[in-house]
């Protein structure tokens, strides 16, 4: 979800829409940003935060309450903060020692990072003005209720926090900062002053020694010709360990995820691959690739699995038809402790037409299983009901691939999030299957595809027929999901953990 790095390359094409809407919207209007979220540490849920308006303090400010619970939903503490009534909570994380919260002020166009210790006592706050219009538009887009395209504040276990932003004095080059546990800045690094005026950084991994970032670079905002790099920096001083293009000798990669193997001191970059002259955001991929690089950024080995030669022949007879009729959007990759890699995707098909409205039809969940030596082993198909999403009028997007990216940013896919157990032996893929054209009140199922300790898949389905106005499903501690229901009439939010069956 937040980690889906590929969404950012869309910012160009969503650009006009986003800016236009921001301008026409009164800032104090009904903003739909979720004000509850999971607090993650090393991918494990350690608690939840809720940020809400208690009352108007004066004409300009609200008295907000920031409340934090542990992973069992028991309130740990809450603090009152008085801030402008145009404040929104954008991101939150906990690194084992400290909390970091990132706020966006829609009216003043500023960002604020507030640091708290583990008892929620304020340690420091950092304010940033957002003169950069691209930076502003990005936050404004989220303020309208869209999925954030990336995480902005990332916990580095016990060390501090990484902040991913946009450099003020640039067109749109990245700014990467590291803050210690007391929210004091340790170092900053920027995208280089080169022909790539649009260079975006997103978190790739965090370790005790190194932090990795994925860099997406383009020469102009509307360019769909993008290059992706992997940047690895020392956590202590921000010095670059290496920066390499995400490509193999023959191919370039897209939607890649980076796994750091501490024991071997190697990185595995895994994702879909394309010919070097292909457009990665318009064309369908050639297949999957795993590239292993050493600490100098040198390629140690690479392995491809192509659709035509390796993957298609594994499609079971009963699934042949759907595989031929649909494309697959991959949401995430996960590597289990035994070295296997799993690619999680959903089948989709383009529908409708520019006149009546573009649609996307979403079908089954698929999981591709790769061996520890990166060769494809098995394709798993988990059937679920078809779901259709109609785009707002005026959307004209030529390629199905592109359409799937935009659809993803508009929450049109069922996939919600993936959670890996702390020992990395098991993982759970959660999706919500409901008829988007009829809304949440219609048939509504939370599906969990679980890779069990027995190394097989199990499916658990939890009907979500509730009386609430709206509900959300959040990650929870291992083996659970958190269901949050909002009852508009009573102005009440009910949060509870549901244990999965497998």
């Amino acid at each position: 979800m937040k980690k889906s790095i590929f969404l950012l390359c869309l910012i160009g094409c969503l650009w006009q829409t986003a800016t236009a809407q921001t301008l026409s919207k009164t800032v104090t209007g009904d903003v739909k940003v979720r004000n509850t979220g999971a607090i993650l540490q090393n991918g494990q849920v350690k608690g939840y935060y809720t940020f809400y308006n208690l009352e108007k303090q004066d004409r300009k400010n609200n008295n907000y309450m920031l409340s934090v619970t542990d992973e069992n939903l028991r309130e740990i503490n809450s603090v009152n903060i008085v801030r402008p009534n145009s404040y929104l909570l954008m991101d939150a994380s906990f690194n084992g020692e400290a909390f970091g919260f990132l706020f966006y002020d829609m009216r003043e166009r500023t960002l604020e990072i507030i640091g708290y210790d583990r008892t929620l006592k304020e340690t420091n706050k950092v304010t940033k003005t957002l003169k950069n219009k691209y930076a502003n538009a990005m936050y404004a887009y989220i303020a309208q209720g869209h999925e954030p395209m990336q995480s902005f504040l990332i916990a580095v276990p016990n060390k501090g926090f990484m902040y991913y932003g946009i450099k003020e004095e640039s067109k749109s080059d990245f700014e990467v900062e590291f803050y210690d546990n007391t929210m004091k800045r340790s170092w900053t690094s920027f995208g280089p002053d080169d022909k790539f005026d649009f260079e975006t950084a997103m978190e790739a991994f965090q370790d005790e020694q190194y932090v990795g970032s994925t860099i997406i670079k383009r020469t102009s905002v509307l360019s769909s010709d993008i290059d992706i790099d992997l940047l690895v920096q020392n956590i202590g001083d921000g010095k670059t360990v290496f920066r390499i293009p995400m490509e193999s000798t023959k191919y370039k990669m897209m939607l890649a995820k980076v796994f750091f193997d501490k024991a071997k001191q190697q990185f595995t970059i895994f994702g879909e691959y394309f010919d070097k002259n292909e457009n990665v955001i318009k064309n369908q991929s050639q297949g999957f690739i795993a590239v292993v690089v050493d600490m100098k950024g040198k390629i140690v080995s690479e392995r491809t699995n192509s659709w035509t030669a390796d993957i298609n022949k594994l499609v079971a007879a009963k699934d042949k038809e759907t595989f031929e009729d649909t494309n697959i959007l991959f949401h995430d990759f996960v590597r289990t402790s035994d070295g296997q890699i799993f690619a999680i995707g959903e089948q989709y098909r383009r529908g409708g037409n520019p006149m009546t409205g573009m649609r996307i039809l979403v079908y089954n969940l698929v999981v591709f299983q790769f061996d520890a030596d990166f060769s494809i082993k098995k394709l798993h198909v988990f059937e679920k009901d078809k779901n259709a999403f109609t785009f707002p009028q005026g959307f004209i997007i030529a390629s199905a691939k592109m359409l799937s990216y935009v659809a993803k940013s508009m929450n049109a896919f069922d996939f919600q999030f993936l959670q890996t157990s702390a020992d990395k032996n098991t993982f759970v893929v959660n999706y919500i299957n409901y008829d988007r054209e009829k809304g949440q009140k219609a048939k509504n199922v939370l599906g969990s595809v679980i890779y069990t300790p027995e190394k097989v898949f199990a499916v658990d389905k939890l009907p979500l027929t509730r009386s609430s106005t709206e509900y959300y499903v959040y990650p929870a501690k291992e083996g659970y999901v958190m269901v949050s229901e909002y009852f508009k009439k009573e102005k009440r939010i009910d949060n509870r953990l549901e244990k999965l069956n497998y």
Binding site: K56, D70, R74, I76, L462, N501
Partner: protein, 477 residues
């Protein structure tokens, strides 16, 4: 010589008391609806209470009457929702002690009735309209009849000094006070900081209520002691009772459950993984603020009572009645009934924990083992329906460690593991105890799970053959 005899006697008596619970247990019957006679008495009392209200302001009078209605309805609901025990043992025992107090205080009109209350909390309540509730939690901690008597004297004091009525009047007067109305208007007029100002207004009133409440506790203790001294109960009980109340937060059963002993079966061995216990270490803020004591510290009450006892007459008093058969039996029965009540109100998680604790003390009690089997099945059923959270708490390091460990254990179990435990537990106990009604039902329940190797139909036939009028019959469909 006398001392020796007494010790021997105590031991013998204790043995008799234990024997009642050693092999089996028959739970107290459940009262579905309030007995008509009790309802009539409550209604008559309500009418009389309302007739007495005479506030200068009509608004205030009406509001107080409304509060009396609510209070009466609350008590009636307590009966209808099965919280009040109208059994033949616990409530009559409490009532007999209350009668002793009345007999020793002939000036007091006999307007109250006492009942055992199906709550694990350590508490007693005088609702104010004549009903006194004595929780099973408190009863299970009472060592002597004299302690029960002192608690009742305290609740009687609340009743006869009209503490509940006075509080109702205080609330009503505050709400309709012109000064309050003015303040609320002011808050409404200015949209800024409304929440904070309203909280402050309500908070300061709440504080004054609490302060009055605390004063009233001292007042009740003082009066209670006067009632108490008119009886022949011993002089140690009042202080000891307050000490027991003071340690109410400390669980009586604190050793860790031997989960492996309970859940290791030949056909289904215990799994090491189930014992993984990692208390939440996310953060530990506010621990002190959390344990804010809602009841006034008993220490100060003890000091006050001791001062008052200095002048008390020690002559003609009964000896301290530690370990009498009756009070011991009441205590044990209360412990069983707490577990029974937890199941009855659907709190299978806590109930199962209590039954497991009972099983460690009464290993030969077939009923306890049957209820463990039934509880496991219930947890399985709720988990299957994704509703486990409704009947089982989440672990919390603030609980007693043995309970927190137990909760972690149950939460660790996967659905089929829960089913297996329910199945193997019940069938193993059945081999041990043979035909026992509650156990047969537990077997029938678990025979319906995916892991079962028994035929539910056969078990049902056996149940009907042995218990043609059985109380589980209607549930076995």
């Amino acid at each position: 010589m006398k001392g020796f005899c007494l010790t021997l006697l105590t031991c013998l008596v204790w043995g008799v008391a234990v024997a009642q619970f050693e092999k089996n247990y028959v739970p107290a019957p459940l009262q579905d609806t309030i007995p008509p006679a009790t309802l009539a008495t409550l209604k008559a009392k309500l009418a009389a209470d309302k007739a007495r209200v005479a506030e200068p302001s009509k608004e205030v009078s009406n509001y107080i009457k409304e509060l009396y209605d609510k209070r009466a309805n609350f008590v009636i609901d307590q009966f209808n929702e099965d919280y009040i025990l109208t059994d033949e043992t616990l409530s009559p025992y409490l009532q007999s002690v209350l009668n002793n107090i009345y007999a020793a205080n002939p000036a007091l009109p006999r307007e109250t009735k006492v009942y055992a209350h199906r709550s694990e909390a350590v508490n007693a309540m005088s609702y104010g309209e004549g009903t006194i509730a004595f929780t099973l939690g408190l009863l299970s901690r009472m060592e002597t009849e004299a302690q029960v008597a002192f608690v009742l004297c305290h609740e009687l004091a609340h009743y006869h000094t009209h503490h509940s009525d006075l509080k109702a009047a205080e609330v009503a007067r505050f709400l309709f006070d012109p000064e309050t109305k003015k303040k609320v208007k002011e808050i409404e007029k200015n949209e800024f900081g409304q929440y904070t100002r309203l909280t402050k207004l309500v908070g300061s009133f709440g504080m004054s209520i609490t302060r009055h409440g605390r004063d009233k506790e001292f007042e009740a203790d003082s009066l209670a002691l006067r009632y108490y001294l008119n009886t022949t109960y011993d002089l140690q009980a009042p202080v000891r009772t307050l000490e027991i109340l003071d340690s109410a937060d400390v669980e009586p059963f604190r050793t860790n459950l031997d989960l492996r002993k309970h859940f290791d079966f030949k056909a289904y061995p215990f799994k090491e993984r189930w014992l993984t216990y990692a208390p939440s270490n996310t953060w530990h803020a506010n621990e002190d603020a959390d344990s804010l004591h809602t009841h006034p510290s008993c220490t100060r009450r003890i000091v006050a009572i001791k001062r008052q006892l200095l002048t008390a007459q020690g002559a003609n008093r009964k000896a301290i009645d530690y370990g009498t058969e009756q009070s011991d039996a009441m205590r044990r029965r209360s412990e069983f009934e707490i577990a029974v009540s937890r199941y009855h109100f659907g709190n299978y998680g806590r109930g199962l924990f209590l039954y497991l604790a009972l099983a460690e003390r009464y290993p030969e009690n077939a009923y306890v083992h049957a209820m463990i089997g039934q509880g496991l099945y219930q947890l399985y059923w709720y988990q299957k329906n994704h509703e486990l959270g409704k009947v089982l708490s989440l672990p919390d390091a603030r609980f007693e460690e043995n309970y927190d460990r137990y909760l972690s254990f149950v939460h660790t179990l996967r659905l089929m593991e829960l089913a297996s435990l329910s199945y193997y537990y019940s069938s193993t106990q059945r081999e041990r105890f043979g035909v026992q009604e509650d156990l047969l039902y537990a077997c029938w329940l678990s025979s319906k799970t995916e892991v079962s190797q028994s035929d539910p139909g056969k078990i049902k036939t056996e149940y009907i053959a042995n218990f043609p009028q059985g109380r589980y019959l209607s549930k076995m469909k």
